[in-house]
């Protein structure tokens, strides 16, 4: 019975469950400093690429923030140490994450109300397939 169930689940594999989901929050650190926290949950069997992969490869991973008078970016997006492996076809090492990862972007608050609008471009692959690059947009309100 369990064996039959396993086979049935496998053959339904084409309706892929396992999209990366994002949760973005703003963590206030002081009167004029905060950090945008962007946490991704990656389904089992999948991985998502990290920042810093070779720009001459098809890998896309990036964060864009719309300029607003209420804040200013401080430095670049930070990420934990990623996993890495060597991709034979590309002939390049690639870095990626599994399970869960949180990215951070420090910002300086300018003492005004406003909204942070961000777009995350990311890519996920399993051992067998890759999904086209996707985009996630978010908006966080700043209250002075």
């Amino acid at each position: 019975m369990t064996v039959l169930l396993l086979f049935w689940m496998h053959s339904r594999g084409q309706n892929f469950r396992g999209q990366v989901t994002w949760e973005c929050t703003l963590k206030r650190k002081s009167l004029d400093e905060a950090e945008i926290l962007m946490r991704a949950k990656i389904a089992p069997g999948w991985h998502m690429y990290a920042l810093g992969n070779n720009p001459k490869s098809p890998i896309i991973m990036d964060f864009k923030f719309q300029a607003d008078r209420s804040y200013q970016l401080l430095g670049n997006v930070s990420q934990p140490v990623p996993l890495n492996k060597f991709e034979k076809l590309l002939g390049l090492p690639v870095t990626y994450f599994e399970n869960e990862v949180e990215f951070g972007q420090k910002i300086k608050l300018k003492g005004q109300n406003g909204t942070i609008r961000g777009t995350i471009q990311f890519m996920q692959c399993s051992d067998e397939i890759c999904i086209p690059p996707q985009e996630f947009g978010f908006a966080l309100k700043i209250f002075k």
């Binding site: 001459k56 098809p58 890759c130």
Partner: protein, 257 residues
Amino acid sequence: MKTIKDILYFLSLPLIILLIMAFKGLADDKKLENIKHTNPDKSFAVVELFTSEGCWSCPPADELIAKLQKGNQNKKLFILAFHVDYWDHQGWKDQFSKSIYTGRQKQYATWMSLSTLYTPQLVINGKTEMIGSETAKVLSGIQSAMLESHPENLSIKAARTSGKTIQVSYSTTSTAKSTSILVALVQKQASSQVAAGENAGKNLSHVQIVRELQQRELKAHDSFSFKLPENNDAWEIIAFEQNQKSGEIIDAAGIDL
């Protein structure tokens, strides 16, 4: 005596697994042979692979279609590799990719109610789709398609009219409604150079690359013209009739140039 019994027990499971794998390998090889054999009783199989030079999960799927194409005697096995363009960006471009091929894959996602595009994706006769590297599934799918029966009414002719221009004409006795005729110019073999990394300068080889696709409403006969890109490689024209409501491919024909 007891230890020999233990050793046998210990080895039996891995041995069984090895035997199953070997058997599967042999079964796949047999299917491959069966598919590539000429057989006038078998129906056509139009095999479309959506792939990309930049997709590193694609090589096993690319290799599978290369195996299908090599030494193929079955004139009703049509293989088309469409290179999608969504892996292209500033730092990387698949030289064979076109947005209309991504458009075609999107059309299949609509017809088949799929939740996402992905590579490598393989579609057979516009009706079934699967991961292009799942060998057993692909081979079974092709075999099933070949066992179906279709009225085969499509015939095509191709002639080189000048230098690089090819004139393709078809005629059909099909009376199907809501059906389009699609004609593909297929480059049988090509290689590209890897731009970066340790394999920089090495060649990637590809087969059955669709270089141009034209589509029109199906008529009793019509004619298309193609321009060969600059090279001396081997070419093929593959034409097929596709129902525009369901995506099902109802007839197919091909000709070597």
